[in-house]
């Protein structure tokens, strides 16, 4: 009788989407079918992995049987399992949406349909492979797989804006990866291993390790679009096809952020100075404010959503001053992880809704969506629900995440970060309501005719509902996060007397 703990799930979360991707490429006319089946299988494997880690603790798989440092190991602790599960849920939603989004008769949509599936499944492969690898160089290969597939998916829209956005994204992404590779090489030079766990145990002091971590951080910060290196994100995310935008904002930017967490919280926390943590926190704060302001004034709907991503990414970087090197850092750690999940589901829902709305709208400016609330009630509701999570209103996952971060900021005496959180929520409310106000404008006469697709609308709503549900299962999520967590502490801190 094989128990959950005995299943070797780690290789399958990588092999399933990889095999599916290649099959959907070879069997071109069957691509949507192969794609959906693969999505279901991969999502199931991902969720099973999360259950396995929750039940049986950290999972490790020695690829090739060699074991680090000679071979490459795969590992899933609480954080990895959460990332894989997040990818499973958002990935499944986007896949269902994508099966309907690219439906259509003309040659252009047929071309997009044929290429969306192999590229998207390869992207999913890269994400899962990145989240479960325990080898720093292997992470580089997965980063490149991720970056190239993301760029190709953006370019699939084939408009001048999409092509230019994709080109810029590619150049920035490549520079980031090369900096990361430089850092990994130097770390190998200092410690003679590429395994993350062994690097964590190795004494990393001195100039080589410092330059290595600097290069890794610079590269990953570029790829995560932290202010002021966010310039490439809005054009790329806004001009991509809707399901691609959802994947980019929800998942791809989180991958490089995840690696930053790995290197700073697990591998080299002793090298983190107050300058670094405060610096990252300040850049995050700037991102929250700048992204929020730009979202408020952006002209195109998808640009509003893309700048919202820039802002939300800023929140994530508050985990550095609030969690790194703090005696009770788990509150901030949990808040950041919950925020990653909540943002992923909510932002994906928002972009998917935007995709439906834009199919019905007069033009892609914000004012072009006037009257669509009458025509697309389900979609507008999904957009609003996603917005509620992004603002951080209870009982959504976004609220739970921000509550934890606020608690951490106030209880540790760093109350100024709390101001950032509040200001960000106000800005999010402003730009969300701006969009909704336009949608609820009553146009004289009948609502504009539009083709409604149940699959499109309901997959967006399902993801928004997940963002809401996260608020209710937050404690379970945090319990999973405890497995192998790098920081200790209670879920909610007591206020310092």
């Amino acid at each position: 009788m094989i128990g959950l703990a005995d299943l070797a799930l780690l290789p399958w979360v990588v092999a399933l989407p990889l095999g599916g991707a290649v099959l959907s490429f070879v069997l071109r006319t069957r691509a949507p079918f192969v794609g959906l089946v693969t999505a279901l299988a991969t999502a199931a494997a991902g969720l099973l992995l999360a259950a396995q880690v929750l039940a049986a603790g950290v999972q490790r798989h020695l690829v090739g049987g060699w074991g680090a440092p000679l071979g490459i190991d795969l590992q899933a602790d609480g954080l990895s399992a959460l990332m894989v599960a997040m990818t499973a849920v958002v990935g499944l939603g986007v896949s269902v949406y994508g099966s309907a989004y690219f439906a259509g008769g003309n040659e252009d949509t047929a071309h997009q349909r044929a290429y969306f599936w192999p590229l998207w499944l390869l992207l999913w492969t890269a994400l899962n492979a990145l989240f479960v690898t325990a080898d720093a160089f292997n992470a580089y290969v997965t980063l490149e797989l991720l970056g190239l597939s993301a760029v190709a998916l953006v370019a699939l829209a084939a408009t001048p804006a999409a092509l230019t956005g994709a080109m810029r994204y590619l150049l920035v992404g490549l520079l980031g990866s090369l900096l990361y590779l430089l850092g990994v090489g130097l770390l190998y030079g200092a410690a003679a291993t590429l395994d993350l766990q062994q690097l964590a145990q190795a004494p990393l002091s001195g100039r080589v390790a410092a330059v290595a971590l600097a290069a890794i951080t610079a590269g990953l910060v570029l790829k995560t679009a932290l202010f002021p290196f966010h310039f490439w994100l809005p054009p790329a995310h806004a001009s991509a096809p809707a399901p691609v935008s959802a994947v980019l904002s929800a998942l791809v930017v989180k991958a490089s952020f995840y690696l930053l967490l790995r290197f700073w919280f697990f591998v080299a926390p002793e090298l983190a100075s107050a300058v670094l943590t405060t610096g990252l926190g300040l850049l995050g704060a700037a991102a929250v404010l700048w992204g929020g302001l730009r979202a408020l004034t952006a002209e195109r709907l998808k640009l509003v959503v893309a700048y919202s991503t820039v802002a939300q990414i800023g929140y994530l970087f508050l985990v550095f001053p609030l969690g790194l090197g703090q005696p009770e850092g788990f509150t901030a750690w949990g808040g950041a992880a919950l925020l990653v999940l909540a943002h992923a589901t909510a932002k994906a829902a928002m972009f998917l809704s935007a995709g439906v709305i834009l199919k019905a709208a007069a033009h892609d400016g914000v004012s072009g969506i006037d009257g669509t609330a009458q025509a697309l009630p389900v979609t507008i509701f999904a957009f609003a629900l996603a917005g509620v999570s992004l603002i951080g209103l209870p009982p959504t996952g976004g609220f739970a995440a921000k509550w934890l971060l606020l608690n951490s900021a106030l209880a540790s005496g760093q109350w100024w970060w709390a101001l950032v959180l509040i200001a960000g929520s106000l800005l999010a409310a402003a730009y969300t309501f701006r969009v909704l106000a336009h949608a609820f404008t009553r146009l004289p006469g009948d609502p504009p005719p539009c083709v409604r697709s149940r699959r499109l609308e309901w997959s967006a709503l399902a993801l928004a509902a997940t963002a809401l549900a996260l608020g209710f299962v937050a404690t379970d999520v945090l319990e999973l996060l405890r497995v192998g967590a790098p920081v200790q502490g209670p879920v909610l801190m007591e206020r310092a007397p």
Binding site: A8, P11, A15, L18, G19, V22, F25, V26, R28, T29, H61, L62, V63, G64, G65, W66, P69, L70, G71, I72, L74, E107, H111, Y115, P118, L119, L122, T125, A129, D135, F137, N138, V141, T142, E144, L145, L148, S149, V151, A152, A155, L156, A158, L182, L186, Y188, G189, A190, A192, T193, G206, R207, V208, V211, A212, A214, A215
Partner: protein, 224 residues
């Protein structure tokens, strides 16, 4: 570019280069993982350490890397580039004769490098690159050796590297872990993987040189 940007870029570049140089000057003496590799060489199935690392110890990296190359091909084809223009003149005599001489030599050399990879520098990537070189030369004289091959077969050949590698990797899980070759089969499995990969790599690189996707145009315009 305005002068300020140039100045800032120069300062940044010098700083980065300086930091890297500073780190290089401080590198500790170390043999790295060389001894760990040497210790396991007899169980690797090959006798060249780099090939052992690439195809056995760290074969998982190579699997993903072959996938990256396939991804580049898929991505390039998704962009729908126009076929390379035909030049108005016929390719010159020197080029034609050179291609006629070189292409068979390149193909033989590719096979040789593939075989050699087990005990000397060589292997799938080098052999694949030579095959691609042959493909590029043929493209220069506007010869399409695979012009009549159905696109489905071409896609299958391009994907063969990843498919064979993944299949071997997963089959190994039957008795062990991912990519855990039984030691007595290791050499043969590596050769099989490298052979499939050579074909795929050569095909992918050659088609990336051309840029356009091979299609057959049927009556209804439907692409297979």
């Amino acid at each position: 570019m305005p002068l300020l940007v140039r100045f800032l870029a120069a300062t940044l570049s010098l700083a980065v280069g300086g930091l890297v140089a500073w780190a290089v000057l401080g590198l500790p003496e170390s043999a790295g993982l060389r001894e760990a590799v040497t210790a396991q060489m007899d169980r690797s199935g090959v006798s060249h350490p780099v090939t052992a690392v690439l195809l056995n110890f760290r074969g998982y990296d190579t699997l993903l890397e072959v996938a990256v190359l396939l991804l580049a091909l898929i991505a390039a084809w998704s962009l729908r580039l126009a076929p390379p223009g035909r030049s108005p003149e016929r390719p010159g005599l020197v080029l034609r004769e050179l291609v006629r001489l070189l292409v068979p030599v390149l193909i033989v050399l590719a096979g040789y490098l593939l075989w050699l990879g087990a005990h000397a520098p060589g292997g799938a990537f080098q052999a694949g690159a030579l095959l691609a070189g042959a493909g590029v030369l043929l493209a220069l004289v506007e010869v399409r050796p695979l012009g009549a091959t159905p696109p489905f077969a071409l896609r299958l050949l391009a994907a063969a590297g990843v498919l064979v590698f993944l299949a071997v990797a997963l089959l190994a899980m039957w008795g062990g872990r991912l990519l855990e070759y039984p030691p007595e089969w290791a050499g043969l499995l590596i050769l099989a993987i490298e052979s499939a990969a050579t074909v795929s790599i050569g095909l992918a690189l050659a088609y990336l040189f051309r840029g356009d996707e091979p299609t057959t145009h049927r009556e209804g315009g439907e692409r297979t």
